[in-house]
Symmetry: C2
Subunit: 298 residues, 2 copies
């Protein structure tokens, strides 16, 4: 039996915190680093080492997992004299579970290859409840041997690991799945708006979807109340999906692929973001659709 | 106990045939009319009366159900000296289960009101398998008393009857549900195309969706093979969804509602229709997305 890896976890936001907690619960030796130190307290209380810099974390770890918000945050923890990469040597493993662009992922993979560091790009499908219950779906890009070796670590955070190919395949697959999710959001938003415009109770759209075995989908049920009550408390903030939507379109463009519907989905999200709704749940695009109806009624 | 209505069924296409068969199986007295007489043979063999004109059918029936392809076909069976309406008198009921426009439905409802004929607009959600197994969802617009009275008839064809309001509420609700279905189609088509463009196996998009409890949806599983194998045998012909998409946009426009994503969905379907794919399954829009990729490879 191989010795379980010492894991360093960077990024204790909503998702990262839940994932790191599941690693601790699974019995792994976990050290943590977070820019806002306050979020590390509960981990210190559980006996985890709290590193004061990413470099110090890397020194404590065989495998470092990053779950941060964007490429700038990635660079901040990986690069420079206090970054992870400077402290990493051959045989160490970096797993990036943040969703960044394929381009960024490719460059990072190349950098790791040169340094002899194993690399997985491994974004996740699923949101806070799935992260908390360890039911995320992990989309891995990397060498099959590395994915296999880290399977116990990955399975502590998710129900399934899907090996998509070499990096940035995990990231590329995540974009495709989030594309479907973004479209499903605008689908029920436009469906509910059309019902309202026609004087039909929008809740009946959801009732019908739930009654039809082919269209009965958990995501629709999750978002039903937002659209029926026109209240959009953040579960998946619009600004994050908009970031992904921009990645989808730039990836498609780079490959000579036209995605006319994704273009419209992203356009609607840009409009909603520009209305100041970036921190609301992505279903808030419904407000931009229905505002003209409400204005007409007044 | 009230006497079960004598039912006249008009339109024995893929859907209508299955629905009429379920009425026969449920023990109702069913007479049929179909423009192409050949399709009535199996009903004659089961002991159903076959009427030679819609008027003759109406004379045999308390309740006439129409399930035809478009407004022109509706007019052909309802209007004129050989049409249903001329033979109908007060107390008879017309149930239109075809999907036509809200405008057409409103005009028909008004005509029935003047003639003292009960009217339900009652399109269905679900396709051939659901029609065959009596698992359709029926979206009814009409007087609550009429919907209630005809519940046994409707339940012989479907698992649920959703009363949406006065006509054209059933039709309006159907449009909203088909809007979601159309969007779900372009969602997985663009998702699969983006995977392919990025060198990721499109089948993994479906695997990921199926693993995520929030996104695991029967419709995606139903359409998976079409998109993975790039083969689009007709289950729901594109031309029918395109007809509905045009209705969605014209309804929205009439109510001052802008539906930017539906606009893009309809645009893609128009393009695919103009490529000569109207009779293929609506997933065929995937071919229009991926053709440029294939051309680039050659």
């Amino acid at each position: 039996m191989s010795i379980p890896p010492r894991i360093g976890f960077i990024g204790l936001g909503i998702m990262g915190r839940a994932m790191a907690l599941n690693l601790v619960k699974a019995g792994f030796q976990v050290s943590v680093y977070n820019r806002t130190r306050q979020r590390t307290t509960e981990f210190a209380d559980m006996g985890c080492e709290v590193a004061s810099t990413p470099r110090a974390l890397a020194k404590l770890s065989d495998t470092v997992i990053t779950m941060v918000s964007d490429p700038a945050a990635m660079d901040a923890v990986l690069e420079g004299p206090e970054g992870v990469l400077g402290a990493f040597s051959g045989g160490n493993t970096l797993i990036n579970m943040s969703t960044v662009s394929c381009e960024y992922t490719k460059a990072l993979a190349a950098k790791c290859r040169v340094a002899g560091v194993n690399f997985l790009d491994c974004p996740v499908s699923g949101s806070k409840p799935a992260a908390e219950s360890g039911q995320l779906v992990l989309l891995a890009g990397g060498d099959e041997a590395v994915v296999k070796k880290l399977d116990p670590v990955l399975k502590a955070m998710g129900r399934a690991v899907i090996h998509a190919g070499q990096p940035p395949a995990g990231t590329a697959l995540k974009l495709c799945v989030n594309l479907v999710l973004a479209h499903m959001t605008t689908a029920v938003a436009e469906g509910a708006a059309l019902a309202e415009a026609q004087g039909v109770d929008p809740a009946l759209v959801f009732t019908t979807l739930a009654e039809n075995p082919a269209m009965n989908c958990g995501y629709f049920a999750l978002k039903r109340n937002n659209l029926v009550n026109k209240d959009y408390p953040p579960a998946f903030p619009l600004k994050h999906m908009l970031k992904d939507a921009r990645f989808m379109l730039s990836e498609a463009r780079a490959k000579g692929l036209e995605l006319p519907v994704t273009q419209a989905v992203a356009g609607l999200m840009e409009r909603s973001y520009n209305s100041g709704y970036g921190d609301k749940d992505l279903t808030v695009i419904h407000r931009n659709l229905t505002e003209p109806l409400n204005a007409a009624k007044e």
